[in-house]
Amino acid sequence: MRNRTLAFAKRSASWALGFSFTLLSGCSFLSSPVIDAKGPVAIAQRDLMFTALGMMLVLVIPVIVLTIVFAVKYRADKGAKYTPMWDNSHLIETICWTVPAILVVILGVMVWNSTHALDPYKPLASDQEPLRVDVISLDWKYLFLYPDQDIGAVNELVFPVNRPLELHMTSGTVMTALMIPTLGGQIYAMGGMETELNLMAHEEGSFMGRNTMFSGDGFSAMSFEARSVSDTAFDAWVAAAKSQGSELDMARFQELAKPTQDVAPEVYADIPDTLFKTVIYNLGGASMGMADPNAHTNMGAMPGDGEGVSAQDTSAYETDGVAPPDAQGTATAPATQSAAPHSPDTTD
């Protein structure tokens, strides 16, 4: 019986291994976004990961090897040395506690340093001014606003190579998370709040960016193209957007905010100055917050204006963002709100 089981195990194990190696050799793991990173953030994140991995293998490989060695060596029918009452050794115990502890101390220092060095809110070192882009995640597309260029784009993020990219994010819908694995990631975008993510590419190229946080029926296709281009190409793209794009007014934005899937990239020549703030302050309620933004001019500092303001600091504007109570529908039937519902419950 044992022989049959063992033979079977060996057969299936070798088959599985053989299959996986064929698979790995013939594919593009090494050119995957995280391994073949193209920006300082992503490269640092990748290197950090592999350093930590290497350190842990020092502990994990012996465990795996010893399990197999002991199982073979001390099998009952082998007649190896047997000490049934031996159950303690101060030396071994000390090693068992201290070696992992030392490893954790080293890793802990690494964590402390790397978390501060790679804080997504931290401006990246560069001799160039960062390019600011305000990101609004909608169902199910991304709207990128370039406040300094006064242009906007849907599902297309274009930025100059080697220039820091400063993303300010919010959500016009549920919680989402923006990641461009080749450049690094990822921070949640949340309604009524502003979060920040600093990235940079040091190669020109086209990278996949997407929402990684499940957000409904259109989630799978909620991706966009992130393109790092030369300074001249960027200027040309901005100029083209200005000359060819249409104007994004509030009415158009409301149209855009409705749930749609597979939205083709589009550029806007002119964007309302206050759109990003309006979405943050007025999200929710029935109207998607299209109230007059001027009504809120007295609200003081924007979160995110100061350095290191995180999503946790929402107290400043929480109460200001309150929608009129009647906008939330009646107590017994909140589902009948006039806001575009995410998806019908059961579909046709």
Binding site: F70, A71, L107, M175, T195, F219, D345
Partner: protein, 647 residues
């Protein structure tokens, strides 16, 4: 009635309709079998109304096995969808795929793993501490029926209405009324909440039992390792589950009564949900894993025929894990924009848990060292765990580095990591426990051949299914994708699907094992009560144990109490005495029915029914309390007869 109408029937997709048919058909088949065999009366008097911890334990495990099947079918459907859906829609529409990943997680955590470990603790722990039952036998039955009520709601969502699409974590605002109208999320909330109340009560019960019902002479530091892990796990249940109850209740208030705890607008704070949810969610991981660690400790010691190495160390490690598990919840959302100080602190706290966990692994290793290892099926599950768990621990430490988590969070790497912890770390342990204690519970052993085959399929299947997901995480694939258009992902997903098929074969082997073993039960019979050369008290009594567990409450003076008894000469037994046991009770199953109806009524806004069932629940509780604690007495003569038949 309420918002319930004929549209709730699952005619929206053929896959969902088939699922509903299978559920209803399976239920009808079981009912038909019971009626055909004339088991109705036996089922009611011997099982459903029982307060015997052993039978309740078995019922928990039966529930877990049934739900494992359902949860696994979900998994297989997801793997198949992702293997196909490259550049096309696959065979599942998004609104159905989303229900499947939500129900897979919910079922596997709440209705597979939780009942499985509660069942094992229920069956084994009182026997190991030499007790006749748990401290509150009736409460134990109530706990079971609350869990069962949650499971019923869960299964019902397949037939009437839909299930949540918000994932097993149910993050708002997506899970709020604005973005998820309809009954889906409500099914999730109420099945999780009702079963969670059952779990909290179980925790209270187990802690009290271990603290007060131990056999004379058994000091805390002489409790078997499984009892220690059961104790820590139960303490975690008591402290962590109320957070879940509260957070699901708040979400229910948001959804049903228009509150604004977690909404985008009106002062809601969606981040607070993540905080509260994971304040339960992280300790929950250890609630699941610690009892499995206990099983591994028992198994590795028995099948190495050796005392457990570093018992004191193990106990401290277990306690350390239990305490630390409350200090790390934020690592589930490093990407929410906390400051570097906060993220780094929680990252380091997370890594500290790796120390006691590592100690435990080393102690198992040195228990095997210079032992006489018998490679039985429980031992195989244990060694499979020891080899695999290290990989999961390693990827866990990677995810604990906030800067690395920023690129790995929400990808299939994360999915691979937590399956790498919970499949070997919890499920393999439960299977080891199932095969190890089965002869104790039923008086015959399970087929070793089929047990080993099941192991090898699960083991290879696990690697094939989840190693590709690690790679896909590096390749930028998010979790929960219903379709995709990156061609290089597809080979990995096909391979992962192949792994899931191997696991399916493993599950089939488990089924065959049970069938073959029941068929050959005479040949496999365990007449000694001690088929494995056990070391702890549960092996001192017969297999299956009599209703009263021990004719004489044993006197304990060592960790391996039964091993010690076997080494010393038996003294002549003292005369038998009358044994008083709690009588069975109809209240617990009735309360379960009332709770299930209440949940259903609230989900569908049938308020009169909700009021009625809630009133029934309260009335049953009062009625039970005024009727007192009925007992049955097993007379000394009868005890003598049962014990005489044993030898």
């Amino acid at each position: 009635m309420g918002r319930l109408n004929w549209d709730a029937l699952p005619f929206y997709s053929w896959v969902a309709f088939t699922g509903a048919l299978v559920t209803v058909g399976g239920g009808l088949l079981v009912v038909a079998l019971i009626l055909y065999k004339g088991w109705t009366r036996k089922l009611w008097t011997d099982w459903l109304t029982t307060v015997d911890h052993k039978k309740i334990g078995i019922m928990y495990i039966v529930l877990a096995m049934v739900m494992l099947l359902r949860g696994f079918i979900d998994a297989l459907m997801m793997r198949a969808q992702q293997a196909i859906a490259m550049g096309n829609e696959g065979y599942l529409p998004p609104e159905h795929f989303d229900q499947i990943f939500s129900s897979h997680g919910t079922i596997m955590i709440f209705f597979m793993a939780m009942p499985f470990l509660t069942g094992l603790i229920n069956y084994v722990m009182p026997l190991q501490i030499g007790a006749r039952d748990v401290a509150f036998p009736f409460l134990n039955a109530v706990s079971f029926f609350m869990t069962a009520a949650g499971a019923v709601l869960m299964l019902l969502s397949l037939v009437i209405g839909v299930f949540s699409t918000a994932g097993w974590t149910g993050y708002p605002p997506y899970s709020g009324a604005q973005y998820s109208p309809g009954v889906g999320v409500d099914y999730w909330i109420w099945s999780v909440m009702i079963s969670g109340i059952g779990t909290t009560l179980s925790g209270v019960n187990f802690v009290t039992t271990i603290m007060t019902q131990r056999a004379p002479g058994m000091r805390l530091m002489q409790m078997p390792m499984f009892v220690w892990t059961a104790l820590c796990s139960s303490i975690l249940m008591v402290f962590a589950f109320p957070a879940l109850t509260v957070v699901t209740m708040m979400l229910a208030l948001d959804r049903t009564f228009g509150f604004h705890f977690f909404t985008n607008a009106a002062g809601g704070n969606q981040m607070q949900y993540a905080n509260l949810f994971w304040m339960w969610g992280h300790p929950e991981v250890y609630i699941l894993i610690l009892p499995a660690f206990g099983v591994f400790s028992e198994v590795v010691s028995v099948f190495s025929s050796k005392r457990l190495f570093g018992y004191v160390s193990m106990v401290w490690a277990t306690m350390a894990i239990a305490v630390l598990s409350f200090t790390v919840w934020l690592h589930h959302f490093f990407t929410m924009g906390s400051s570097a100080n906060v993220n780094a602190a929680f990252g380091i706290a997370t890594m500290i848990i790796a120390i006691p966990t590592g100690v435990k692994v080393f102690d198992w290793l040195f228990t095997m060292y210079r032992g006489r290892i018998r490679i039985t099926s429980p031992m195989l599950w244990t060694m499979g765990f020891m080899v695999t768990f290290g990989i999961g621990g390693m990827t866990g430490v990677l995810l604990a580095i906030p800067a690395a988590d920023y690129v790995m969070h929400n990808t299939t790497f994360l999915v691979a990591h937590f399956h790498n912890m919970l499949v070997p770390g919890a499920l393999f342990g439960f299977f080891a426990g199932y095969m190890y204690w089965f002869p104790k519970a039923f008086g015959f052993q399970l087929s070793e051949v089929w047990g080993k085959r099941a192991f090898w399929f699960w083991f290879t299947g696990f690697y094939c299914a989840f190693m590709p997901l690690y790679a896909l995480g590096f390749m930028g694939m998010s979790r929960r994708m219903e379709h995709y258009d990156v061609a290089t992902w597809q080979p990995y997903l096909i391979f992962a699907c192949f792994g899931a098929v191997l696991v399916l074969l493993g599950i089939i082997c488990l089924g065959i094992q049970l069938w073959v073993s029941v068929r050959d039960r005479v040949a496999l019979a365990d007449t000694t009560g001690d088929p494995w050369d056990g070391r702890t008290l549960e092996w001192a009594t017969s297999s299956p144990p009599p209703e009263y567990n021990f004719a004489h409450i044993p006197d304990v003076s060592d960790l391996d109490a039964f091993y010690e008894m076997k080494q010393t000469a038996r003294t002549a037994p003292a005369p038998y005495e009358d044994i008083h046991l709690p009588a069975s009770s109809v209240y617990a199953p009735l309360m379960g029915v009332a709770a299930a109806i209440f949940g259903f009524a609230v989900i569908w806004w049938i308020w009169w029914l909700a009021a009625l069932s809630l009133a029934a629940l309260v009335a049953l509780t009062i009625a039970r309390n005024v009727t007192g604690e009925p007992h049955v007495t097993i007379h000394a003569a009868e005890v003598a007869k049962i014990e005489g038949a044993r030898t």
